[in-house]
Every structure is written in C-alpha cells, then in structure tokens.
Subunit: 532 residues, 2 copies
C-alpha cells in the first residue's frame, strides 16, 4: 500500500484536497461575509507542472541512502503554509526548492550530514512537518552557499521512554502530533499540546518555534512543557539535564527553545505529560462590546482560576466561522481536570463574565457546549478551507501578537485600522479584519488578527507584502511582539530586529558562531546572514 | 539620626545581633537535637579588629562622590552569608574585600563606572544586599585585574511606575524586599515574592540569581514574574520589550535571568503583581514515613490544584524547628486567593494527603494553622539563629536541588548518606542531615538539605570544603541540579561546569564576550576566568 503522502504545496494529505465545487462554496461563503471578490478557480499545482532546476550538488556516496532528489521531495520542502507560500505554489514557482532533501534515521546520520554540509558549504534547513507560516523552512538563503539541504526529521518519530511516576517522556523530535499521542496512549498520559497545526507539525518544530498549545492559560507553551532537550549542532551534541526546576545560571533549554533551527537541530526532548481530563465544563457567552468582553477576560485571567479555555472571538470572526450574525462577540470559557470536579472553578469564572455583561449562549450539555464546539470545529477545518478561499483569489492571512491589558484598547484599534487602511490603499478595495484572543496572561492577552482582502490578480505577492509591512509596523510601533506563537522565520525578520534588544542580537549571534561556526544552519533566520 | 546599618559580617542589621547568652541557648538547643558539640563562644568581628590592605586604585575625581573606601563599606562588601563566609569573618580575614565600593545613583553613574573600570582593568562585582550563600558577590577574581570594585545598587531603590490594569510595576533593581512592598502598598497590589532572604535581598539580586519565592507551586520563581528587564553592560544598555508573552526567538529575558552579574548589571525591571490574598486555608499533617509523605505531595503536585504552600519537612528538621519530637514528618498544605474562597481546592488537597496516610496536626483556625505558623516563625528566625550556632563552633550549612519524582527515593537516600559519611570521615564525628521540600513541580520536588557537624576548631574551612565536595559530587552524580534557587556563584562552579552542557557553556562564554568584551563583570562566575 502506498504511503499516504502530504500535499507538496498545501495543508494536509493529498487525499484531503477540497474539490473545485467545495472550494467555490467556501470562497463564496467567505466573500459574502467579508465583502471580498471571488475570482475564477485556480487549480493547485501538480507535480508535472513544476520545473525544478537540477540539484547543484550531489550527496556523497555514504550519505546517498539518506538523501532524496525526487521532484516530490524537493517541492514538498520548498514552502510552509503562509499566504505567499500558496501564491507562489499556485504560480508553479518552486525556484527556492532545496537541492537535496535528507531523511536521517538517527542522530549519527544527522551528525554525518552536518559534517558533510559544513565542509561542502551547503546550507541546512531543519524541517519538521512544514507548517511554518513565516518562511521558517524555505531554503531561501542568499548566494553565500553552494547548495541547500532540507533536513526532514520524520524518521526520528518514536516515543523512547515514558516515566509514569514523574509524568514525562523522552521523545524524538520528528514525531507528528497524532503519532506522539498514539504512542503515549497506553500509558494513560498525554502531552495535551494541541496547536492548530497539531496534525501536521512535530515536537521538534514546536520546541524550535515556541509553539502555543490550545490551553488559553497556564502551562500551554511548549516552553513550559520541556524538561530537557538534546540538540545536534555543527560543534557537537548538547543535552540539558532532566530536571523539574533549576537555578543554575541562565536556562540552557531557553536558548534552544525558539532557536528556529539556527543554533542546532533538536533531536530529542524530555517533555512533561499529564493525565487525561475526566472532568470538564464549558460555556460560551455573548458580549455586546468587544472591549467589555476583553475586560471580562482580564478579570478571569487575574482571578487565578486558570481555565483551559478562555477565548474571545470578535463578532465578525464568529460570523466567518458560521456562528452568529456578526454583531455580538463570543467568549468561550472552559475548565478541565484529570483530578477533580471543576464546578467551583467554573462557577467563579461565570461570575466574572456575568459581572462584565456576558450573556450565556446556548446551554452546556454533558460538560461541553454547542457554541464552543462549533467554534472548535471551524478552527480545525480552517486551514483546509483557507486553501479553497485562496484558490479563488481571496487574500487570507493572519498575524498574532501579545500586549499588556492597559494598552489593549488603543493597540487593537490602531493595528486593526492600520491593516484596514493598508488593504484599502494597496488593493483599492475595503478589506475585512477580525480579531480573537488565543491566549490569556494575568498581564495581557494574545490578540490574533485575521484578514481577508481582494488583491489584484497577478499582484498578490507585492500587495500582501505591503499589507504585511503596514500591519507589522503598526504592531511594533504600538508595543506588541511581532509574533506570539508563529515564530520569526524569514518573514518577520525586519520587525524582529526592531523588537529584540540589539545587544541580545549580538549575544545570540555570538552564541550562533560558537555552535554553528560556518553559519550553515537555517541562514538568515534570527541572525541576519553576513553580507557577502 | 544615624542610618540603621547592616552588619558588615552577617545577617541583618547591626542591632539584630544575638547576645552571647542567647547564642549559647540556641547553640545548646541545636547541639542537643543534632548531637553536635558546642565550643566556646567566638565573638563576631568588630570593625577595628579588621585589617584591610589599602585600595590598589583610587576612583577618578569625577566618580569620587559615588565611591567609598571606608573600612565599613569595604568589609561589608566582602562576603555573603555562607558558612565559609562566617568562618572567615570570625577569623577576622577580609583579605578579599573590594578595593572600592560604589553607590551609583542612576544608570548614568553605572555606565560611567563601567567605562572607567573597563579602561582601568578593574573587576566589577554587582552587589544587591549581599545575601548570597554561594560566593556570588565575593571579590575573589584571581590576579588578572588591577583592583576590584563592588557595585552596590541600593540607591536605585524606587518603584517607578505601577500599572494597576495589567498588574505590573517598573521597579529599580536595588530595592530591598520590604521597601518594594511598602512602595507598592497604596496600589493594593503586591509582588508577593518572599524568598527567605526577603528582608535583605533586592529585586535585581532575585533576577540575577533566579530566586525562588515562598509559593511552593506555580508562579513562584522570579523568572516567571519578570515582564521585561533593563541591563547595563560594558557594551551598552539592553532592554527587552514589555510583553505578557512572546514567541519571537529565544527569550532575551531568560539570558539575563540567572546571569549572576556576569553579563550585565540589571538596573530595572517590569514585574508582574497580584492582588493581596483575602481567602486563605492552611493545615499541617503528620506522616510516619518520609517517602509516603513525598508520594502524597506528588499527588498534590499532579492534581492541578497549585497550592500556595505544600512543603514536606522531615522529622528531624521539624524537631530542630521546635516542632514535634523528630519521629514524624510534617506536610504543610495551604491555599490562598485574592479572588475566591479556596475550600474546594483545600478539600481536594486534604483528600490527596489523607489518601497517602497523612494525619491532621493541630486544628486550623482563622484560615491559619498553628503548626504551620510555628514552622514559618522558625524559618524567618533561622538566619539569625544560625549565627549563634556558628559562633559556638557548630558547622551549619544547607544545599538545595531538584530531581524528578521517579528518582527521588534513591536520590534522597544517596545524597543524605553521602553527606553523613563525608561529615563522619572529615570531622571524625557523626553529623546530622535533614531534608525538606521547598518547591513542588508536577514532575518532581526541590529537596533542600540542612546539615550540622562538629568541625575541628581551626580547620572549619577545609572540613567544610571536603563535605561540600562530597555532597555536591553525590548530588550531581545522582542527576540533580547543583542549585535550585541559591545560584552558582563561585562555590558551585566546579559542579555547574559538570552540569551544564559544555556547548551551552561555549555559547554563554561567547555571549559574555559580546556583552562584556574585557571580562570585567563578576569574573569567575558562570564563565570560568581565562587562565592568564
């Protein structure tokens, strides 16, 4: 039986493609809600339409078995899943495809590949499952390298050890989300880290990009779930000690977490597990005013209740998900526990929302909530539907950030209007910008913006770039972070350089020189490429 | 009115000294419980007994007003509060006193001082309040420097800005704990970070050493309370953006948090505040078996309840605190909230403890608990009593670590017996080693060991060193961290170098070269001093 293959140009498996009719239906629905224009269907690329330049280098014989130069493999390692990725894929432009794709089977293979690449001046792009939406895995490395190699970690896909007492597991970095959970299943434990990309992303990718899980509060970032991490660098292997806590100098793990493949290749980690939830409560609420809803969530976030879900979705984004008519804003509140009934937690959470004018939507049943479930379903379907929308010429992109509560009102207003203005100026047509909160902290939320626009056919890339620039400039000027959980990649570098302290940049660059002296790892990401 | 001065040789203010009679009483009590020997009282040093070598360098005229060479200031910046610090102070040995002590009043002063020190090859030791128990602030920098300067940040002692909406404050690094809380008071908010050193330590010191607060679980480390941090380095000033969360590359703050003055001088931070607790519940329990009590706490730690206190104190350590007769082990469980009644939390926590054989001790009253209060009182008195004990010739030291649950039993047994054996071999007499847990994580506890021994008078230093070495070797070999919240300093460097990944060491060293090119900041701490 043939292996189920991932699309080489988009989200999910080859058999998960929306047909033309379904794509049109989705696009018309979205256009109706966003006021954008549906263009003629553009079929996704097929492999025989793609022209790849011949590889500029061959793998040495002893590594040959690990390396592929097939058109599928090279095309499938060219792009992530961002809007400009889709546009270029739809344009059949795969000019940045890697020369080689390697599938190492173990750490020894990775060391050998890095040794060879360092000697041959080949840039190495660590690759998990390709869900980057920031150009993080595109082999676009400038002219300083002889060739590029995408290093795909999927064969390091095993859970190696489970410690049920401490609730932790040693897991190889290349494991996909579903396989990770399947391998943990017999232990009764779970990592319970469900970013939206869960099905098509890997543990190593989560660690490399500081992934945010589905929990709205508390231990949701992979940062807090890592107990120790093992990394192969061109200078050797480094592994931190497995510890529940330590105060011995700056955290070694925190240098690797978020390093986006620029410092080393994460091969394995000990991560913290938990028991499966047995108690759940969930309830959605409607608010007439977005900022009043935000105040309600501030109260929840500062109450020390730590809900598993506490998300605000603005009215227009609800409507886009098929929930409501766009006027009222939704807050979903949920608690879960593997240990104890959560009524007391939920009761107080509901009080916080009611105190700020929240009205219950639907009725909770069996611990779940219909409105909340509808949102969840739309959330998971989102990336598939997005392809249908884009294939019909609608621009669809998202960006996410974080800001402290006291700046939220102005921040939200400024970023939203700057994006709307940019869309109008750039495309000559009004766009549609919505916002939800994905994560909550006691000191502020993580707003996530989604926009739709009607680009001029053939000018999508430049128009997207102009809108991206305007939104990012506004966001950085207003004090936000250029990314809360989508990483920096190549797309966010200009604003990352403005955001991070310059001297931290110098320190990071020095650290990179120590770990990756020839600068072959994911060049241009986090540390600007030296100007040759 | 004269300013209340800190002792130049020990814990607290000059007026907080135990008299000879009181010291004897404490020492006899401790000796009775630990089987150690009380020697004749050794009076603490007075300033006129101390001989300091003349400063090897003078401050330039323009910085003269910031710099002191008084005997008191130089002596008071020589030592922290470790056992070997006391022994050398009692021996009237202040040979490592800094040549100069600077009291900058603002960031500009600090920049000027660093500029001058870099040009003059003067080592600079950042100094908060001198509570280090690991040699972190001792100007013992080898022969590579012309002189040493202790940089005392106490004049940067203001809360600059309070954001009651986001619950955060911008605070200067040199503020002592009590002053910090006093300045926050009118806002109704609190940092609620109470390390044992609270009275005599500073915000900057907490950040530089990854201080652990009094909360047993959840957000207790200063690491998690820092929103952004501002640092002066010899290469310039770096300040991170104030954000509730970010995924933009490795965290800049996490490089500075725990940097122990080796990368820069922390001058200011935004930290997360909280409302004052209004609801409290506390209850102590007795357990017949230490490991059964540990299992009970494992259950609590994995239940997702996040108690404010959940500490295990072994029987002998209870007895030392005047609680019980040494046979039974105490667990204190407490919850607090500013927002909601905590009965549901407490009820489930109590179930976890009862399920593992815990028996309630005393009876809760008014939300507090007598046994728990007795322990707290002993905890705060501890550092003062310690001076009495040491002044009567008893060796008293502590070390703390963290380990995952599945290794706890063997780890505890091995570390305890290695320390007991070392004491016996080194001093020829049985010692007394006790253990408590200071912090709990879902994947493991932070065991804190306390020991008493009877050193040979005059040989205390070498005997302490031999015991320290044996305990540290055992702890590192068994998989622990050399420090959970006491930092590395100079005392822990040999084991820190074994613990941290070598390549992380290389990266840290490279980062230090970028921020501190001349290596003048706290030389020998975290990054080994270059062998000249």
């Amino acid at each position: 039986m043939a292996e189920r293959r991932l699309k080489f140009w988009g989200w999910g498996y080859e058999d998960q493609q929306l047909g033309e009719a379904e794509a049109a239906k989705v696009a018309r629905f979205v256009a109706g809600r966003t006021g954008t224009t549906v263009h003629a269907y553009r079929a996704p690329p097929t492999l025989d339409e793609i022209r790849l330049t011949p590889p500029r280098i061959g793998a040495p014989a002893k590594l040959g078995a690990l390396v592929s130069t097939s058109a599928y493999d090279r095309a499938a390692h060219c792009y992530g899943k961002s809007y400009p990725d889709y546009i270029r894929a739809f344009a059949r432009d795969f000019s940045n495809a890697p020369d080689l794709v390697a599938f190492p089977e173990n750490e020894t293979d990775i060391i050998a590949l890095l040794d060879w690449a360092g000697g041959a001046n080949v840039a190495v792009i660590p690759f998990g499952a390709g869900s980057s939406v920031v150009g993080g895995i595109e082999p676009k490395v400038g002219h300083g390298f002889r060739a590029t190699l995408s290093l795909d970690l999927r064969k390091l896909g095993r859970v190696r050890e489970i410690d049920v007492t401490s609730r932790a597991a040693r897991i190889e970095a290349g494991v996909y989300g579903p396989s990770l959970e399947a391998q943990l299943k017999s232990s009764g434990l779970t990592l319970r880290h469900f970013p939206q990309s869960f099905e098509f992303s890997t543990l190593g990718g989560w660690i490399a990009t500081r992934s945010g899980g589905h929990f709205a509060t508390l231990y949701t970032h992979i940062d807090e779930l890592v107990e120790s991490v093992r990394t192969v660098t061109p200078s050797g292997v480094m592994e931190s000690r497995r510890l529940p806590g330590s105060g011995a100098g700056p955290s070694p793990d925190r240098l690797i977490i978020g390093s986006e493949g620029a410092l080393g290749i994460i091969v394995e980690a000990w991560v913290k597990l938990q028991a499966k939830p047995r108690h759940r409560a969930s309830q959605a609420f409607w608010f007439d005013d977005f900022y009043r809803a935000a105040e309600a969530l501030r109260a929840v976030s500062q109450a020390g209740l730590y809900p598993s879900n506490a998300r605000l979705v603005d009215g227009e984004e609800c409507a886009l998900a098929g929930i409501g008519e766009g006027k009222r804003h939704m807050v979903v509140l949920a608690f879960e526990s593997a240990d104890h009934a959560v009524e007391a937690w939920m009761a107080r959470g509901i009080e916080c929302l009611r105190d700020h004018g929240g009205a219950p939507a639907g009725s909770p049943k069996g611990g779940r909530d219909e409105t909340a479930d509808a949102w969840r379903e739309a959330f998971i379907r989102g990336p598939f539907n997005r392809e249908g929308v884009i294939s019909h010429g609608i621009m669809h992109d998202t960006f996410e950030t974080a800001i402290t509560w006291e700046r939220l009102h102005d921040f939200h207003a400024v970023v939203k209007s700057a994006t709307e203005r940019a869309i109008h100026v750039v495309t000559g047509r009004a766009g549609h910008v919505t916002c939800r909160f994905t994560h909550l902290y006691p000191d502020g939320p993580a707003p996530y913006f989604t926009y739709h626009a009607s680009p001029t056919p053939g000018r999508e890339l430049e128009q997207w770039q102009a809108i991206k620039m305007a939104a990012s400039e506004a966001l950085i000027a207003a004090g936000g972070t250029i990314t809360h959980h989508h990483a920096v990649g190549r797309d966010h570098m200009p604003w990352y350089l403005k955001q991070r302290p310059a001297l931290f940049g110098a320190a990071l660059e020095a650290a990179k020189r120590a770990l990756d002296p020839k600068g072959i790892l994911n060049p241009g990401v986090l540390v600007p490429a030296p100007t040759a």
